[in-house]
Symmetry: C2
Amino acid sequence: MIDFSIKHVDESLEPMLQNKIDFKTKPTGSLGVLEIIAKQIGKVQNSLEPQLLNPHLIVFAADHGLAKEGVSAYPQEVTHQMVLNFLGGGAGISVFCKQNDIKLKVVDSGVNHDFGTIEGIIDKKVGNGTNSSLGDNAMTNDQMNQAIRNGANVVKENVGPDCNIIGFGEMGIGNTSSASLIMHYLTEIPLNQCIGKGTGLEDDQLAKKLRILENVVSHHGAIANPEAILKSVGGYEIAQMTGAFLQAASEGKIVMVDGFIATAAFAVAAAIQPQILDYAIFSHQSDESGHAAFLQYLKAKPILNLSLRLGEGTGCALAYPIVKSAVAFLNQMASFEEASVSNKAEA
Amino acid sequence: MIDFSIKHVDESLEPMLQNKIDFKTKPTGSLGVLEIIAKQIGKVQNSLEPQLLNPHLIVFAADHGLAKEGVSAYPQEVTHQMVLNFLGGGAGISVFCKQNDIKLKVVDSGVNHDFGTIEGIIDKKVGNGTNSSLGDNAMTNDQMNQAIRNGANVVKENVGPDCNIIGFGEMGIGNTSSASLIMHYLTEIPLNQCIGKGTGLEDDQLAKKLRILENVVSHHGAIANPEAILKSVGGYEIAQMTGAFLQAASEGKIVMVDGFIATAAFAVAAAIQPQILDYAIFSHQSDESGHAAFLQYLKAKPILNLSLRLGEGTGCALAYPIVKSAVAFLNQMASFEEASVSNKAEA
């Protein structure tokens, strides 16, 4: 296991940030969640004038051995097809990143497909998909460590110091199952409350998914260590996201957390280094059952709740303008004094 | 009363819009609220390729006679001071409109202040604030009609046909009281569930506000007609917003509804012409108590829920990028066929 050193943010700026916010020309507290985000970013950057620079969105893609047991509504080939769609600009995340001026990068973390030499893909393949966790570990210990390291290296090698905010997304047919298992092991919430319809299972298919995942849990028994959870039931894209989250936060960057699967990767990172929570902005609560409880476990308050369940980092890209607004009001709004506006009489 | 002619949108495009959405490279329904917005805008524009053009945000400002009874945490002079702050670029709405490329226009609907000749303000003053509805009608019948007409004219005269989406905001010390009274009369929800702390009343001040508003209701008795409600307990900025909503929708523009007070103005418009609901996008649920129930009364599903209670149209400006995303995915995402991605097997 590689070491990450994430520092708790310095809380000492909090009163000055609060003061700056409270003297903006608006009723006290009236920008709600934006005020919380503004304070958080101010503390991460240790600045009363924080800036968001060169935002990136990195999508990690990989295949899952468990997919062949029939846990998804879509065939496995969709993973590699969607990678090409990301690169071609036709996917949801491509459109939203373009709209909001976010740099999109796409990583082959372990797709079961040979992409050959395609421009734009970051090759961090650990294998051609994981093993099925139904009867085996999803990956070996070496593969798990390599995946975390590869994820960290994606950030080190592809995102410069001029970027201070990153969102992570994923693509991998079958990966809600992996995320549900991770959630179950980390939170100890019963498995049936950790699973959902993923990309669109029918009720009978969902019942089948639950039976399969119950069998996975029977096979592996209790697992408490976060790396062991990744090894047993994780995915290459999930483990790489975990490494990327840890690396980005260790560099002092804001990390944006997407939906259910990204939350699983983040939760593993937070189990390894809880300080990462200081750097995390939760972009949205997804429509996938279980995400609400998973966010609650992390004490996370997501920005959006739009019944999204697309993944790819789309929640991050959609929430990013709101994060920008939080920083914009902190920097650009006039104070009562600057604007010669009367403040509320002191109580 | 002037006539507005708002047509119900043509629903016949619905199946084709749904079809276009369902063949985008994403799980069926996975863009949640964005899919609903995309369909709505497609129907309003009767197009499978709708566009958002030249977005505007118009803030109506006016004073309230009721403010002198002590229903607000801020003194009345803040209304005109904030108007100057809007024009100077220092207010929340100024910052968010600039961020999201929205044209901001500011209207003096009836501020108790002589602005003289200041560049940028649209003069539609009906009077120097309304009468106190505690013992009098807020305005005469003529003033009410003039306010609605002035609001419509703001749209006619200041927003060209090249703009097809408008948000409306407001500023007026004391105007949550007016909005609460309008809500109570329209929805028949008990007054204590229609009032909240506005810009930041303490508990005892809130109790006082309730007593004052109860006295207003005792004085006026039952009122059912929407124009009569405006006349008795409305505000000039609220009545002008009502007129502006009706005019914008009659021109086929999308209208974005902001928080509690804007919802009151919109609800009056919807009581006059229910077809306006076809054109309305509800930007957010505010932190002002009563807004959730008011939205429910309108069967409205707001985009954001960020504990905002600033008004000014800030919810519209903050939600606008999400609305843009809805249109962007509809126009720019690839279909399964275009991207050579396998679709889910038919059930």
